[in-house]
């Protein structure tokens, strides 16, 4: 019993890797359900009309990307399918590249840069920059990432402040995140904001969701998979869900084994 409690952590690591790897190679096809966090995000995008403009602020780092990028991909795909125009911005340096990657895929599928979507790029300054951006977009972004004058892009017609978007979606792995956007944008301009965050940030943003400060919330890869299901277009995120399940089971197993060892140890000591 004691051995269970003191098992070398490297054995745990191997078990965990195998638990995740196996379903990736041979998917199990476990079913899952769509949460109302995701559903409300989906609805916010879904009720937009063709030709309306949505903002996507790509504020996740490379390292947190695997948890959030699939969300942004799913939402962007959804927007394109609804002929909603999408403007990308970033307040985290790496965000620019993620937006470029998504745009490259959309262009291959026949989307037109500057009309259907545009990437305005990155500005430093985090919260300060968001606040400045919200007040005067063209001043903060005189040019887009491709060197076009922002004001000349067809997609920017009629868009001067954050208040001119029909929906703002924010994707974050840290700062800036929902809190910054709510503080700087939602409190001043009454645009609906929906957020996608890494899983850990989900519960922390629940209060903002409850109070209506954000209209939808995506939390981690799971939400991306749910979003794919809501769109009826299962993709990579859906496939990863099995691996997720097995990983969770492995960790719960570690906790349970650790406790069995602990309790039996304690029982023995108590008996003496």
């Amino acid at each position: 019993m004691r051995a269970l409690g003191n098992v070398d952590r490297r054995i745990l690591y191997v078990v965990l890797i195998l638990a995740v790897l196996y379903p990736l190679i041979r998917p199990l096809g476990l079913p899952f359900r769509v949460s109302d966090w995701t559903l409300n995000f989906y609805k916010a995008v879904d009720k937009m009309q063709a030709g309306e403009t949505m903002l996507m602020s790509i504020d996740y780092s490379v390292s947190g990307g695997p948890d959030v990028h699939p969300q942004a991909q799913a939402v962007f795909k959804h927007a394109l399918s609804k002929k909603v125009k999408v403007v990308f911005v970033a307040f985290v340096t790496e965000g620019v590249e993620f937006a470029n990657q998504m745009i490259a895929v959309a262009e291959k599928d026949g989307g037109k840069y500057g009309e259907d979507f545009a990437n305005l790029g990155f500005v430093p300054g985090v919260e300060v920059a968001i606040s400045a951006f919200a007040q005067d977009i063209l001043k903060v972004y005189p040019k887009d990432v491709r060197g076009n004058v922002t004001a000349d892009l067809p997609i920017m017609k009629g868009i001067k402040t954050a208040g001119d978007f029909k929906l703002i979606t924010e994707y974050a792995t840290g700062i800036p995140g929902p809190a910054e956007w709510i503080r700087q944008v939602q409190t001043r301009y009454k645009v609906p904001i929906a957020c996608g965050v890494v899983t850990v940030m989900g519960p922390q943003n629940e209060p903002y969701y409850q109070s209506g400060q954000i209209v939808g919330l995506l939390s981690g890869l799971r939400s991306a998979a749910e979003y794919e299901i809501a769109m009826k277009m299962p993709g990579a995120a859906t496939a990863a869900m099995d691996a997720q399940s097995m990983g969770h089971v492995a960790i719960v197993l570690f906790v349970v084994l650790g406790n069995i060892a602990y309790l039996s140890e304690k029982g023995k000591k108590g008996g003496r």
């Binding site: 952590r9 359900r33 300054g125 300060v128 400045a132 099995d242 399940s245 969770h248 719960v252 602990y262």
Partner: protein
């Protein structure tokens, strides 16, 4: 002078930010000024990177002595990496091939790999520290396990009650707990920031 000037600078700056936040209608231009001060802050912080880099260089030059450090080549690699990235970015630009190469093939994969390591630390902590020591620990443990199982697709196979409980835990008690932490911390922040603004905490200003 040595103490008063910085105190005055800190106070005026902080007061300006708060004035704009609460009393902007009294002075319309306060918005421009508050914004400008924040932009200045970004610029001044940019210079601080210079100080930070100097510290990094000093410490690593000290560590490069082969007599004191058998792995003297590690700090050297650090400094070379820094020089290569900074040099290519400043002189060739962030669109240049060398910069892009370093970014895509070293910076990015190392970052993703480090982040992916996290779950192993969680696994080892879960096994080591999640023990039913007392009732509080049991509550922590049980709520953790319910959410862990309930949030993964597998939870639905065990029973639909599991994801429902997990959702409830995240939406009801967690809402209360997080809210209390946030509220308390907000007050702590105000008190701490206030002490710094009026110069009660001035360790950063040094003695005389």
């Amino acid at each position: 002078m040595r103490r008063e000037v910085p105190l005055a600078i800190a106070f005026v700056t902080g007061a300006m930010i708060l004035f704009e936040y609460f009393l902007q209608p009294l002075w319309k231009d306060s918005k421009i000024w508050a914004q400008m001060l924040q932009n200045w802050g970004t610029v001044v912080s940019g210079f601080a990177m210079g100080l930070a880099a100097m510290n990094l260089i000093t410490v690593n030059l000290r560590r490069m002595d082969p007599k004191r450090n058998v792995e003297w080549y590690n700090p050297l690699i650090l400094l070379l990496g820094m020089a290569a990235m900074a040099g290519s970015g400043v002189f060739l630009g962030t669109r240049s091939a060398p910069w892009q190469f370093l970014f895509k093939n070293i910076f990015q994969p190392l970052g993703s790999a480090m982040f992916a390591l996290m779950i192993f630390f969680i696994a080892s902590a879960a096994q080591r520290a999640f023990r039913a020591r007392n009732l509080e620990a049991v509550v922590l443990l049980v709520s953790g396990i319910i959410v862990m199982l309930g949030r993964a697709p597998i939870g639905e196979l065990i029973g639909l009650w599991l994801p429902a409980w997990a959702d409830w835990l995240v939406k009801v008690p967690s809402l209360a707990g997080n809210r209390a932490v946030m509220m308390g911390a907000a007050l702590g922040m105000v008190a701490t920031a206030f002490r710094a603004l009026v110069g009660i905490d001035r360790a950063y200003l040094g003695g005389e």
